[in-house]
């Protein structure tokens, strides 16, 4: 299994790879786990926001948000592309030709990174091989059966985690991936807890906002620690705890993750009719 393959900046590829098992496909609910994650990710985007968009699930999430509740959202891609109208067809990378045609602007990497560093990008999406209790991400060094595995690296992930107002992470929920402490902080979350980011010199208005997994959604408390905020339909709390590498705290207002709405599903399926990213 290639789940430690890390991630291209702001992608959830490792996640989709991990969902390659038959058990991960549609089990009679009318949507796949990935489709639920895409819908949950889309709801992290508010109308009019500037979004650092990743490929795969985040790319679909941006599209769903644009077509439903956030038609005014603006998408920024680290290769230099800015889009107010999502590309009309399935993308495999952010530089695929359909993502350039009809763009708002095709510029340089610094053109978009400058907006990010100014603090004007509201939300950025990331995938990760590992996330820890305080939302730190690792996409540089993994391990498999005790052996160190060199993952592809940061890409733009470190930049986004440092500089965007909110960071949303998507990944598969297993003990190997939700760990007490990441082996290597590629992309800083809340470090070791409260006030850590400010002590490092990171911008005041930045940091992890949500971790969307195959089992639920985690958010961060005032101390900077991740806690379970919503649980996906048909998932048991014990399963979430058993698959988390630290004693996971649960929000007093724990709710069920709302399933994808019909309009959200139709938007994703229109752009990815064969479920390349959500059903494979």
């Amino acid at each position: 299994m290639d789940f430690t393959e890390g991630n291209h900046p702001i992608t959830a590829k490792a996640h989709t790879a991990a969902l390659g098992s038959p058990a991960a496909t549609d089990s009679g609910r009318g949507y796949s786990p990935s489709e639920l994650m895409v819908a949950a990710a889309a709801r992290e985007i508010r109308d009019g926001e500037w979004v650092f968009v990743g490929m795969r699930l985040p790319m679909l999430a941006f599209l769903v948000a644009k077509r439903t509740h956030a038609p005014g959202a603006i998408g920024l891609y680290e290769n230099g592309v800015i889009r107010e109208h999502p590309a009309p067809e399935l993308l495999y990378t952010m530089a695929d030709p359909p993502n350039l045609r009809g763009a708002t602007q095709c510029g340089t990497m610094l053109d978009v990174m400058s907006l990010l560093q100014q603090g004007r990008v509201n939300v950025g999406f990331l995938g990760a091989a590992e996330v820890d209790r305080f939302g730190n991400l690792n996409t540089t060094w993994g391990s498999r059966e005790g052996q160190k595995v060199r993952l592809p690296g940061s890409g733009g992930a470190c930049d986004i985690a440092c500089l965007s107002q909110r960071t949303v992470v998507l990944l598969e929920h297993t003990r190997a991936r939700l760990v007490e402490r990441v082996a290597y902080i590629t992309s800083p979350g809340n470090g070791s807890g409260k006030n850590w980011r400010r002590a490092q010199g990171l911008p005041a208005r930045s940091g992890p906002s949500a971790v969307i997994t195959t089992l639920g959604v985690l958010r961060f408390d005032a101390g900077g620690e991740a806690m379970l905020s919503s649980i996906h339909p048909d998932v048991q709390l014990e399963d979430v705890r058993a698959n988390t590498g630290w004693p996971l705290r649960v929000s007093e207002e724990l709710r069920e993750t709302p399933p994808p709405r019909a309009e959200e599903l139709s938007a994703m399926r229109e752009i990815d009719p064969h479920g390349f990213w959500t059903r494979k």
Binding site: H8, A17, A95, T108, T140, P152, G156
Partner: protein, 312 residues
């Protein structure tokens, strides 16, 4: 006053010549400046064929080209944000090199995309470093070994100093140029503008050679002025399997096939023999791709921009 262009000799040469003359062993080489678009695969493959050694590769994400050059033993050092296969996952040659020193040890200097862009921007500006907030608090900052935390001389706040780099050679794939190297690129530019300015030499690889008048008709699209260019190589389909906007699309299947065929060392050797070492030129590579595959990647629907009026 005359508008005639100064009399310059043509900078055109074959890929074989350009690589032989301008990419010495041990050179630092910028490749993949436009991220997943216009990756100069033909140039990288020629470096492999010429058995270049001890190269220091520079680039933001590189897609599979860095992986191939590492697997072929050309590389001593990589200064990048990400090495792998963008649509398929891991770079297996990269992993073998880092984890097992196969076929040789490679030093990886981890950057993020933004800081890698700043390395080249500083080089282009001619200053020793540039400040950023990015990477603060990360292990990337600690393990990179080149970036340094410092206090702002104005406010005292923490910043990271990203050191400048002036690569020995930048290889930039583009849509079209004239024989003097004046180069039009459209689409996402990534780090190409700074890369070409920072580098000591620039090799431009293009789909089309056009008359100087065509380039001069739209100077805003001239991303690289010819006087910065050392060599111009006309190499149609030289970026395959990556896309060139307006010329051909991305060969997604090729990336996925490479992923499967590079998982094991012996399979990678076969892949390398088939697609690089066993052929002499990009022409033969395109022939091997086959007419059908080449055709299927062609532009299905042209979308020309409206002309801009430079009249007065």
């Amino acid at each position: 006053m005359s508008n005639a262009a100064p009399d310059r000799t043509s900078k055109m040469m074959s890929m074989q010549q350009a690589v032989a003359q301008h990419v010495p062993d041990g050179a630092s080489v910028l490749l993949g400046a436009q991220l997943e678009q216009m990756i100069p695969f033909a140039a990288g493959h020629e470096m492999i064929r010429q058995r270049k050694r001890n190269l220091a590769l520079v680039g933001p994400i590189s897609d599979i080209l860095f992986d191939q050059m590492i697997g072929a033993g050309c590389v001593a050092r990589v200064q990048a944000a990400w090495v792998g296969n963008v649509s398929a996952g891991m770079g297996y040659c990269f992993r073998r090199a880092i984890e097992q020193s196969v076929p040789r040890a490679v030093e990886m200097v981890d950057y993020s995309n933004f800081t890698l862009a700043l390395v080249l921007h500083a080089g282009a500006l001619g200053v020793p470093f540039l400040p950023t907030y990015s990477t603060l608090g990360s292990d990337l900052l600690k393990s990179n070994g080149e970036m340094r935390e410092f206090g702002s001389p104005f406010s005292g706040e923490k910043l990271v100093a990203v050191p400048a780099l002036t690569p020995d050679v930048a290889v930039i794939h583009a849509q079209r140029a004239d024989k003097h190297g004046n180069t039009h690129i459209w689409g996402n530019l990534g780090v190409a503008v700074d890369g070409a300015r920072a580098a000591k030499k620039v090799i431009v690889v293009v789909e089309e050679i056009v008359e100087p008048e065509v380039i001069a008709s739209d100077p805003n699209r001239t991303v690289i002025p010819g006087f910065l260019v050392t060599a111009v190589v006309h190499e149609p389909r030289g970026a395959h399997p990556s896309p060139v906007q307006g010329y051909y699309g991305r060969d997604h299947a090729f990336f996925h096939q490479y992923h499967e065929q590079s998982r094991k060392l012996e399979d990678f050797q076969k892949w390398l023999d088939r697609w690089v070492l066993g052929i002499r030129s990009r022409g033969e590579y395109v022939e091997q791709l086959g007419e059908c595959r080449v055709e299927s990647l062609g532009v299905r629907e042209h979308a020309y921009s409206a002309p801009a009026d430079f009249g007065y």
